[in-house]
């Protein structure tokens, strides 16, 4: 690299050298700007949540009442709502994303049928979340309501369960495409050896592919979790927006993202606004940590 630099420098006129160093410098500045951007986001969130951190302290995180009238802010209902929706969505989505990954990665990697499946799954990720929310509100909600009537529970229709269903569809592509890549990475000599020993596909799947791709699949699940935690619009539209601790998975609730979307433009005291921003900060930290762990695992996996 240095040698090339020296050669190219010698051959060029002054103006070009200036252009060149300007170019290089701006590259470096832009690279650094990304770091500043992220630090800026973090700092803004921290600074704006100081009033809430100062007046509420740590009990903010497990307070169960969110009562803006009396200036009581506890984030527990939203933390619980977020955890419930995300994990429920994960549980619903895992069998599907696993099936897609195995089908595309092992059973039928080529051909129009798998192409169709692959493209469809990618398009699922492309549909804007507000459209999922809209569709969910007008089509899925009545379906869930009639299910709830059959089950004999309060037929809200909207609530944590509905939000999880929509979230599940939305996050399937992430785990599925990653899972497919991971399964593709399984060295074929391993699989061939197993097959030649007379193993069935099921046995190869459970004894060779699964153990080999375990951590990769886990990373895929983590990344979809990160996506589910931060999803806002679709959830806001179908979750019911109430600040009570959810009593069942069919109850209405609120997630961190949805409460911010609902209340941010109207939080009229300093602590209220700051409490919402602190939620944003928590959300930011949690998603970042989960994404980072997921990416670390993938990196280690693909480098092996």
């Amino acid at each position: 690299m240095d040698e090339i630099k020296r050669i190219s420098k010698r051959k060029n006129s002054n103006g070009q050298i200036r252009a060149e160093s300007l170019f290089k410098r701006s590259l470096v500045i832009i690279g650094a700007a990304m770091v500043i951007l992220v630090l800026g986001i973090l700092l803004t969130l921290i600074i704006e949540s100081v009033p809430s951190i100062r007046s509420l302290g740590l009990k903010y995180l497990w307070g169960t009442t969110w009562d803006p009238v009396n200036n009581i802010y506890g984030a527990a209902p939203f933390l619980l709502g977020t955890v419930l929706t995300s994990f429920l969505a994960l549980i619903i989505s895992i069998p599907f994303s696993f099936a897609i990954a195995v089908y595309l990665g092992e059973y039928n990697p080529k051909g129009w049928l798998s192409n169709f499946l692959k493209n469809t799954v990618e398009l699922i990720a492309a549909v804007p979340s507000v459209i999922y929310g809209f569709w969910g509100l007008l089509v899925l909600v009545p379906l869930v309501r009639s299910l709830e009537m059959k089950l004999g529970i309060l037929p809200y229709g909207i609530g944590i369960f509905t939000a999880s269903l929509i979230l599940a569809v939305m996050i399937i592509p992430y785990a599925a495409s990653l899972g497919r890549e991971m399964i593709r990475l399984v060295p074929s000599p391993l699989k061939e050896a197993a097959y030649s020993l007379g193993a069935t596909r099921y046995e190869v799947l459970t004894n060779v592919i699964l153990p080999y791709t375990k951590s990769g699949l886990f990373a895929g699940i983590l990344l979809s979790l990160g996506r589910a935690l931060g999803e806002t619009m679709a959830v806001t539209m179908v979750i019911g927006n109430t600040s009570l601790i959810p009593t069942s998975i069919f109850a209405p609730g609120n997630t961190m993202a949805s409460v911010i979307a609902n209340e941010f433009t109207e939080a009229d005291h300093a602590v209220y606004l700051s409490a919402l921003i602190e939620l944003g900060l928590v959300l930011f930290l949690v998603t970042v940590v989960i994404n980072m762990i997921g990416k670390r695992i993938i990196k280690r996996f693909t480098n092996e």
């Binding site: 190219s8 059973y107 799954v121 459209i131 806002t232």
Partner: protein, 273 residues
């Protein structure tokens, strides 16, 4: 053997079951939306609450302006940053920079909205389309950077050596040789990032804010398709639901089309490379 067969059936069944919601959503939106789209719908602004008729031209124009402004800001930055990361894979700054891009990719869109509210809306003193564009640009960056970096890394080093050996200055080698070679990957990143943000609602809630009139002033609040769909979908008016279906159809098709075009172009270019 029985277990193996059962497993296969189950996997095929589950894998294809998931295509049903998507197809269902597309068909449903198409059926609901197509009847609402006509000339008035595309060229008029909405009527007051409770009056039927009117259109969504404010949201259409607004969406285009906001997204284009975001793209104009994000594309040069994103590509430059991608070049930087692919050229400097080991320096300490590039490690932090890459990490930041990873973090940025995971930032929930609503958080971006909050931050831009404090960076732009509050200091300037008004909601504006421009602040919405900034929020969207921030969301475009990681996709752009990643696709540029990954593409450029694949370009053979010999190309660069050849360029430098011919006496071309470094920036010309990058901009005239390396980038054109990877243009397909970069372009697909550009299109994917646009498709991704075109449907974003959450960051616009506290920035672009919405506007019932047609506005082309970037310094003022502006309507956009996703915002309009959100507001109209949660309303009780059947007229507004109808308009939201029409708008949803337009948005959905634009986004899907962008994705499909991206796929086709990358496929074609891959053959050439």
């Amino acid at each position: 053997m029985g277990k193996s067969k059962a497993m296969q059936v189950l996997i095929v069944f589950l894998a294809f079951l998931i295509t049903i919601p998507l197809i269902f959503i597309i068909i449903y939106i198409f059926r609901e939306g197509i009847t609402k789209i006509n000339w008035t719908f595309l060229t008029k602004i909405p009527k007051p609450v409770g009056e039927s008729g009117g259109g969504i031209v404010n949201a259409l124009i607004g969406s285009i302006l906001i997204v284009v402004t975001a793209a104009v800001m994000a594309i040069p930055l994103g590509i430059m940053c991608g070049i930087y990361l692919s050229e400097n894979s080991t320096s300490r700054l590039s490690y932090w920079s890459r990490l930041s891009v990873d973090v940025l990719q995971g930032v929930p869109s609503i958080v971006t909205g909050i931050v831009v509210y404090f960076w732009v809306v509050k200091p300037i003193g008004t909601f504006s389309a421009f602040s919405g564009s900034i929020a969207l640009a921030i969301m475009m960056l990681p996709i752009l950077i990643r696709s540029t970096e990954e593409t450029l890394k694949l370009i053979p080093f010999s190309l660069k050596e050849a360029g430098l050996a011919l006496g071309l200055p470094y920036h010309k080698v990058i901009l005239r040789v390396i980038v054109p070679c990877g243009i397909s990957g970069i372009l697909s990143g550009v299109m994917l990032s646009i498709a991704r943000i075109a449907g974003e609602t959450a960051p616009l809630l506290f920035t672009a804010f919405g506007n019932p009139f047609l506005s082309t002033n970037l310094g003022k609040p502006m309507q956009s398709l996703p915002l309009m769909i959100f507001n109209y979908a949660t309303s009780p008016y059947d007229d507004w639901h109808d308009m939201a279906w029409g708008a949803a159809l337009i948005l959905l098709f634009t986004v899907l089309l962008l994705n499909i075009i991206t796929k086709l172009t990358t496929k074609r270019w891959n053959v050439q490379l």
